[in-house]
């Protein structure tokens, strides 16, 4: 998989995650119940539980900020440091998602589909960004994708 394809995939995933987090943040502040396929709206129970906030900040808002930061690191000129930043942010997001999913499973005994989808997105993002960071910058002239140097200063969103 070329670096460009990998980055495009990650941007798409982060954008979907941003959409999920934005919806949950909106639901939190508007007070409306979230859409949920379960008959007794387990999403509402999770979203209004004591674990829906961390230090008074809604976890949905923390997720939204997280996705914005991840997207920013993906859209920034690609260098070793930005690949490292993307990996660090997504691994932090993965850790936080794991904590929240653990709370759903072991404390609330209820699951929210929106939260689980965000956790799944963050898990894939963490795997892809770690793989991308460990394999390093693509070699110049490799046809599979543009080099890091050639890519620098050209945000993918504009170039693809």
């Amino acid at each position: 998989m070329s670096d460009r394809a990998l980055r495009t995939t990650m941007i798409v995933l982060a954008t979907i995650g941003l959409g999920v987090a934005s919806y949950l943040t909106y639901v939190h502040y508007s007070g409306m119940p979230p859409l949920c396929s379960t008959t007794h709206n387990t999403c509402l129970k999770v979203q209004t539980s004591i674990y829906s906030k961390l230090a008074g900040v809604p976890v949905a808002l923390i997720g939204l900020i997280g996705y914005v930061v991840i997207l920013a690191s993906l859209l920034a000129p690609q260098r070793e440091q930005t690949r490292f930043a993307t990996m660090a942010f997504t691994l932090a997001g993965f850790g936080f998602s794991a904590y929240l999913t653990g709370r759903e499973a072991f404390s609330l005994h209820e699951y929210c589909e929106w939260c689980l989808s965000s956790a799944a997105i963050m898990t894939v993002l963490a795997c892809l960004s770690t793989w991308r960071f460990l394999r390093g910058a693509p070699a110049p002239g490799v046809p599979a994708g543009p080099s890091a140097e050639a890519d620098a200063g050209t945000p993918l969103a504009a170039g693809s």
Binding site: H40, I50, H109
Partner: protein
Amino acid sequence: MSPASGPDPDLTRKERREQARAERKAMEAAAAQTAQRKRMLQLGGVIGLVVVLVVVIVLATSGGGGGGTGLQKGSKSNATVATVKSLVGGIPQSGNVLGNPNAPVTLQYFGDLECPICREFTLTSLPTIIKKYVRTGKLKIEYNSLETATHEQETFREQQVAAYAAGKQNLAWYFIELFYHEQGPEDSGYVTESYLQGLAQQVPGLNLPNWSAARNAPAYAEQVTHDAQVANAEGFTGTPSFLIGKSGQHMEKLETVSPEEVSGFEAAINKQLS
């Protein structure tokens, strides 16, 4: 430059070029290996930090968020008893029901005494509901049990029967309120016989021998089973869950309510009163 370190004069130009290329490739490979080692170290550092972060969050939220600190003693216990007394004292109680028996609206509260969300509801929204609607005779609240947070069925039954047994002396709501106020950390196994006895001793006016005897009555264990059947029939799997309706008439689910936000309850109660 010494002759020893320079190109071998016996080599052809092509051989010297190949030798230089091999040396360059070896250097590149060494540099790549160093860079890879550095990346692995950075990855390890990030994973370590994330693990520390998650552990800190879990510890921070297990104290306040996952329940209280357990059975209180001394002045702290006195203060909690005083708080509960000022909340439910003087309000008629009958078994597991708090409020005027002729109140026009009934709210059924399905809870697990070890459930931290129920604790949050009981300590934040419920006092307002009691002051505004129960104390004024408009609403009565019936406490029903539903096992969610308590992981051992036997413990769940014991603690719930202990609460219902206090209801034989029309003091169940003192026991329930005190339990939630003095709830321990989740999954810590704090509910023991001495914990239940300690709570019972705090209930104002509770006759302990009679309470102990009532705990053996099969009716209360049957009531716990009946509660579970009602909750299952309603499709409840989480706590707190609620049913509301005009007293003696059909009860409907109160679903779209955040336990922390009292306004949802007020709207539902007002609708039933109107």
